[in-house]
Chain length 138, copies 2
Amino acid sequence: MDQSKNILKRNGLSITEGRKLILEIFLQSMGALSHADIEKSASVSLDRVTIYRTLQTFVDSGIIHQIPTTDNTILYALCKDSCEAGHHHDNHVHFICMECEKTICMDEVIVPKVQLPKGFEPVNAAMVVKGMCSDCHN
Amino acid sequence: MDQSKNILKRNGLSITEGRKLILEIFLQSMGALSHADIEKSASVSLDRVTIYRTLQTFVDSGIIHQIPTTDNTILYALCKDSCEAGHHHDNHVHFICMECEKTICMDEVIVPKVQLPKGFEPVNAAMVVKGMCSDCHN
DNA sequence: GTAACTGCAAAATATTTGCATCCTT
DNA sequence: AAGGATGCAAATATTTTGCAGTTAC
């Protein structure tokens, strides 16, 4: 029943309180979070440094992926099961609501392929759409 | 002949040495630049704070646009002529080369529209493709 | 028991703000 | 002359690093 524990185990990481806590936050939030968001959400006090290191570990392991932003922060979101260490499949669209500022992973909307100029070899693509989310748009 | 001066004038900004210099750097580089890149490229010494403020001014005026990244920096690139203050048309794809680390604006590759779930209203979309650029890919 | 993880302190970076001075119009 | 832009100093905020103590396996 301990989902966070399973994820850690599956990815070969040792199971610690901090990691479980951060994973829980992701599992519950269902959206993208910044370092600051996690620091705020943590019920128990979590050292800022531990958060930095844990996020990096999770990215390296393929548990979470980074979402590009234009505001000097990095957002992180849970990968789908298909992600593996060093080989992310985060090829879905991210949506940032301009009203409530939430970032949502649209797992079901995949990033379309584009035709690049000759000589350019794509490896992966990220797409971020800004607008009004379904909660704010009425 | 003074292209940077024209751009400033067209956007209703006063013409100062710092602004002209930063614009020249963009015009010559033909790619996306970070705050740090500009600080390095500047022949004359430019105050770090002036660079921050100038970049912000240029974004607000629609002279440059921001490119989302996953590394705690913001990249800036010149907008095409069609950009206006407060209403960017930076709807083209950006390409980051994983080899040489350069970011290239693909003005001719426009971001495709995607079908969003019900209730989501898109305003603009950004797309960043990572891979090998034509120079590094041989 | 050993290797890995954490927390604290401190260093290094990056960004923002206030204010006096200088430049553009 | 007036408003805006710049540079400097300083205040904040963010990220990284080193190390000693603790925890997971």
